[in-house]
Amino acid sequence: MATEVPDPHQLHAALQTAVLKCSERCLYQAAKWAAEALTSMPPLVPQNDTPLPQTYLHPTSSYENEAILQAGELPTYLLSKSYFDVHEYDRSSAVLANCRSSKSRFLHLYAQYIAGEKRRDEESEMILGPLDTAATQNREVQSILSSLEAIFTEKGDDINEDDSWLLYLYGIVLLKQKNEDEARASFIKSVNLYPYNWSAWLELGSTLGNLGDLNNILQSLPNNIMTNIFVLYSNQELYQTSDPVHAQLADLQTIFPTSTFLKTQRALLYYHAREFDEAEAIFDSIVKADPHRLDCLDHYSNILYVMERRPKLGFIAQLASATDKFRPETCCVVGNYYSLKSEHEKAVMYFRRALTLDRGFLSAWTLMGHEYVEMKNTHAAIEAYRRAVDVNRKDYRAWYGLGLSYEVLEMHYYALFYFQRAASLRPYDPQMWQAMGSCFDRMNRPSEAIKAYKRALISPTNTSPDTAVLLQIGLMFEKLNNQKEAARWMEMCLKEEDENSGVTQATSKARMWLARWEFVNQNWTKAAEYANELCQDGQEIEEAKALVRDLRSRMEVGKM
């Protein structure tokens, strides 16, 4: 996708306006994002000829009708906004009931929506409690939807930039009703009308299930720098770690050189590609530059978890908890720390806390599932994973975890489905394919298992094949009574041992298999060679020794 470098002055002004507009409409996260983007740009050379830019003031609508309406409703609007700011949502909404401007209408409906969300949170039960079914709904959705539809029919095709917020809200409520296609269309309309609302982009991203969806909508997106950022973000979310994505990121970083958001994206790309050292270094620099920043620290903790950097993880947990004890990110970091120290009960406690703070916090659900697996509570683990998947269908770890849990329960057919989902999200992750292969194996479908295992051998990062996979393929061929092919794979396994991996359990097994095979084929010397090697390897010695004895007697018999 072509990246045209926008005029920094224009972009500056646009982002400034975006901050003001978003915060005026109480879209705090979007405002925060825009402001961060704004400050991450290189400072502008002040131009003497322009007086104070208009954007420092109240940004008025560029459409006359709307501007007049807004000016008339300003006092009421300000009242409503101040109610909103002190969390009196119903009151805030009620004040604006009869207003006509798009801005007021948006806040009226948005406050109603937030009030509904708040009520929903209050009504829902304890996390994973007996009555917690995740079915609690936002009761305001239906009425918001009908009011929005009324507004749109009234306006017809005459919609402008100011209506983009209404479209955004429309998308949200549609999404709540699982009406994804229409929601996506609504978001696309919204970002086309006004591209600087990051929240709309985020919601749009959450409707994309896979790369195909992204490619489908690419054409209908506006030609704007925000689109580029969005595409990058979506690629990251969809685990695309290819070089073009990195290049795109580098391009964006020339415009926003100090953006922590972009740095985080880079770190996450490395994380998805399992290049933990790079990811860690980037996160390290982010933490140093902005120690109070908690966003995405949970991912950082995941990285440290995988790298088993206990002291550092403890330190990051300390840092997060010093900034804010009651942020879901903090709780996740602390939970991860306890998990790494094998204190799973405490870890679960902190994940629960994270979820109480934010029920939609994806990583907490997944991580809680992992903890339950560790605690051998498979049923709870399945529920936690399921919730994670319900929140975000792009989390392959949750799908994979679901599959593993079902495998533990010996429900292989079920497990297979989840592994397939995980593999579709991470087509180049051998782990998924391997899991799928073993599932096929258990279900006595060796030929499919072979296909899955062969797929596992294709890995973009790791060029040398995994010996365990080779062994499994061999064993599958044995199951298919194709002994010769099996022997071929076993030999490949041994070859791999010589070249790369060294002696592992898999290679020993392969060698044992080969020894037996040669034994059956009465190829005594070859068999003896394998068996003797086995004795040296130190694995399965007893069996190997027995084989050696047997061979010796047989060879003596042969000589006589």
Binding site: V287, K288, A289, D290, P291, H292, R310, P311, K312, L313, G314, F315, A317, Q318, L319, S321, A322, T323, K325, V334, Y337, Y338, K341, E343, K346, Y350
Partner: protein
């Protein structure tokens, strides 16, 4: 504030770990471990509540370790500085548990081999400490654990210089390994550790504070003292740092306001304390609450309320089968009944007769409550004395109590026992032994005894000294009292009454009627005085009236007093003393026959109960009456016979009175004789007058001195020794001038 863990405990844990790693050579094991144990088991001295690194340093710096050239403190430093991140602290706590013996292998008793890792038994003191510490750490929430870590950093910081000596790489940031390559100005450091701001949250834990409060309660309850002001301030500061105040604070507050005489305050705090402890379901506190309430009510003079509360206590204790509480309540009720019989309802009075004491003794013995048993024996002895019964029986009871005190090591009952013994001696007229008992107690048992007993002994000994005519010394002795003790209201009142009494006596003897009147008013204004003080005050009042010659008022007063004493079934000694004074007054009013009969009956009772000072008083009164009736020789021989024992009583006033009585008898005898016989009698009389004068001058009784002087002058005049007579007259004039 953490519940249990503090930085000091981490340091102790590190020491324990060093010990378990067998890093202590044999000669260091005992001193270092006893240092550790002293800080784990409830400490007795209050310096040990907050354990600083300095304490540890001084205890371990001179102990060699198993590593050559290193002291144990060096190893400890290494251990502490190796905890170089929050994670390391976590690991430290996880690791320390590996030194505990697994329960499965517990049957094999561990043999300590030098140089090998030695395991700690799970139930040993150290093992319990390790287990508790590890458990408390697991209980900590993440941010609590972090604040423990931060306080540990602050705690360890002062040793950085020493650590640097061994480890050249150490720098100001080496407290956390994660900060490598950063400086204090780094934002991350500021966020995580605060800019140079040290958190002092975990220097004391709830556990420490509880121990501190227990210490307070213990010393307040056992000794009856109050907390000194500066200590109170410090305690308040410590408690203000945390959110969870132990409920015991309210109890300390209660005791404090009780001792200071703040009635509403103490009620408030007692109720608050029990309200906050209600949720501890494992123990019902109701009877103890009632017990405290009853004692409190009694202390503030609400006797009826107090009785009702105590009855409720007894019922509740019976319901809950709490024998300790029940026995204590019964014993208390018994004493209360003895002290305030007029306030007890009849139901209780009838129950509280002798059987109840027997019952108490039996119960206390059954329950192994030695303190109570010892107290019961003392009560028995007291009862015997009060009833004027067999002295040997009283001695036997005291001896039993003493035996219990000595064999069971009951320190704080010693005071009551010795005081009782002292009063027994003084009732038998052996004043020296009585005084010595008091002094013995003061010099040997002062530390472990309740303040009340100490002050009582002090007052008693001062009183005996004043009887001997050393009033100034006695007052000085009273001034020596520890001012800290007097912060307790009751003790102060007791002490002040004695000071007042001594001063009152002095003023009376001096003839300073105005001052005496003033002091008397002050003394009678005080509402709660002990019965013996009350009697002394009444006697002084009577004395004052008699000295002013207001006999009719004195007679009415004494009639009322004796009535009250009979009503209250008061001590027989008191009753006899009043009788003797009554006889004295009667004889002075000229109703000698009635006086004689009263005096004789008093003497009979006093003899039967072996109350010798009272007996001698009675004899003197009888002798006076005999002299009035002209039976001089009978009077003289009677007095002459008892004189040696009277002198043993060391009561200057009594001595003086007896001597003047003897002189009067001799004068009477002289009147009946002629010539040499008369002269002999006169000279004897002069001799007695001189001795009496000497006794009077000890107590500075000017009026009596003047009487004796005028007598002497007249005798000298009669014998015609002018110069001696003039001397006597000069003396008289000098005394009159106000000598």
């Amino acid at each position: 504030m953490s519940r249990y863990l503090t930085s000091g405990k981490i340091a102790l844990l590190a020491l324990v770990e060093l010990y378990a790693e067998s890093r202590f050579p044999n000669q260091s094991v005992v001193p270092v471990l006893s240092f550790v144990i002293r800080h784990l088991v409830s400490p007795k001295e209050n310096t040990a509540f907050i354990l600083t690194l300095e304490h540890i340093k001084s205890a371990t710096l001179h102990q060699p370790s198993a590593v050559v050239g290193r002291t144990i403190f060096d190893l400890l430093l290494k251990k502490l500085w190796e905890i170089n991140s929050f994670d390391a602290l976590h690991t430290f706590f996880a690791n320390i548990q590996t030194y505990l013996i697994e329960p499965e292998r517990a049957d094999k008793s561990p043999v300590r081999v030098h140089g090998e890792k030695s395991m700690l038994s799970r139930t040993s003191v150290l093992g319990c400490f390790v287990r508790r510490a590890a458990l408390e750490y697991v209980r900590l929430q993440f941010h609590d654990a972090v604040s423990l870590w931060r306080s540990f950093i602050a705690y360890r910081e002062p040793t950085l210089a020493m650590w640097k000596k061994r480890n050249l790489g150490a720098g100001p940031m080496s407290f956390d390994v994660n900060l490598k390559g950063m400086g204090f100005s780094d934002g991350v450091v500021g966020v995580v550790y605060g800019r140079g701001k040290e958190s002092r949250d975990c220097t004391v834990s709830t556990d420490d504070v509880e121990r501190l409060l227990e210490f307070q309660v213990d010393s307040m309850q056992r000794m009856g003292t109050r907390i000194p002001d500066d200590m109170q301030a410090q305690l308040g500061q410590m408690l203000s740092t945390n959110v969870t105040t132990p409920a015991l604070t309210h109890y300390v507050e209660f005791l404090n306001s009780w001792r200071s005489g703040d009635y509403p305050g103490s009620f408030d705090n007692l109720h608050r304390y029990f309200d906050y402890t209600m949720h501890n379901r494992d123990r019902t506190f109701y009877q103890y609450a009632l017990l405290n309430l009853a004692i409190l009510q009694a202390d503030f003079g609400c006797y009826r309320e107090s009785i009702l509360a105590m009855q409720e206590t007894i019922n509740t204790a019976r319901e809950n089968k709490d024998m300790a509480c029940l026995n204590f309540s019964l014993s208390w009720l018994y004493h209360f009944h003895k002290a305030h019989p007029q306030d007890c309802p009849d139901v209780i009075s009838s129950r509280m007769e002798r059987e109840s004491l027997q019952f108490l003794k039996a119960k206390a013995k059954e329950g192994g409550m030695h303190h109570l048993q010892s107290m019961a024996h003392l009560s028995e002895a007291k009862q015997i004395l009060v009833g004027g019964e067999s002295i040997p029986a009283a001695f036997e009871s005291i001896l039993r109590s003493s035996h219990l005190n000595v064999t069971k090591n009951i320190h704080n009952a010693m005071g009551s026992q010795i005081l009782l013994q002292s009063s027994l001696w003084s009732r038998m007229g052996i004043s020296y032994l009585s005084w010595m008992n008091c002094e013995l107690f003061l010099s040997k048992y002062r530390v472990d005894s309740p303040i009340e007993d100490v002050v009582k002994a002090l007052c008693r000994s001062a009183y005996i000294m004043s009887l001997r005519g050393k009033a100034d010394e006695a007052l000085e002795r009273l001034d020596q009292v520890d001012q800290e003790c007097l912060r307790t209201l009751k003790v102060y009142q007791y002490w002040a009454t004695y000071v007042g009494l001594l001063k009152l006596r002095q003023a009376m003897y001096k003839g300073d009627a105005a001052a005496a009147e003033m002091l008397l008013q002050q003394l009678s204004a005080s509402p709660y005085v002990e019965p013996d003080c009350a009697l002394e005050i009444s006697i002084c009042r009577l004395d004052l009236l008699a000295r002013r010659g207001n006999y009719s008022a004195a007679l009415t007063a004494i009639a009322q007093l004796s009535e009250e004493l009979v009503r209250d079934r008061a001590d027989i000694y008191h009753r006899i003393r009043v009788m003797v004074i009554k006889a004295d007054l009667l004889s002075k009013c000229g109703r000698t026959v009635k006086g004689l009969s009263v005096a004789i009956s008093a003497a009979t009772i006093a003899w039967r109960s072996r109350l010798l000072p009272a007996l001698f008083q009675a004899f003197r009164t009888i002798a006076n009456i005999l002299i009035h009736m002209g039976e001089f020789s009978a009077a003289y021989s009677m007095m002459d016979n008892i004189m040696p024992q009277v002198l043993e009583c060391e009561d200057a006033y009594l001595n003086a009175q007896c001597f003047s009585c003897l002189a009067d008898a001799q004068m009477g005898l002289a009147g009946a004789k002629k010539g040499a016989g008369r002269n002999e009698c006169l000279h004897r009389a002069l001799e007695f007058i001189d001795r009496g004068f000497a006794e009077y001058s000890r107590i500075r009784d000017t009026k009596s001195q003047m009487t004796l002087m005028s007598q002497k002058a007249r005798i000298q005049d009669f014998t015609g020794e002018k110069s001696l007579r003039d001397d006597a007259v000069k003396w008289y004039k000098q005394l009159k001038k106000g000598g």
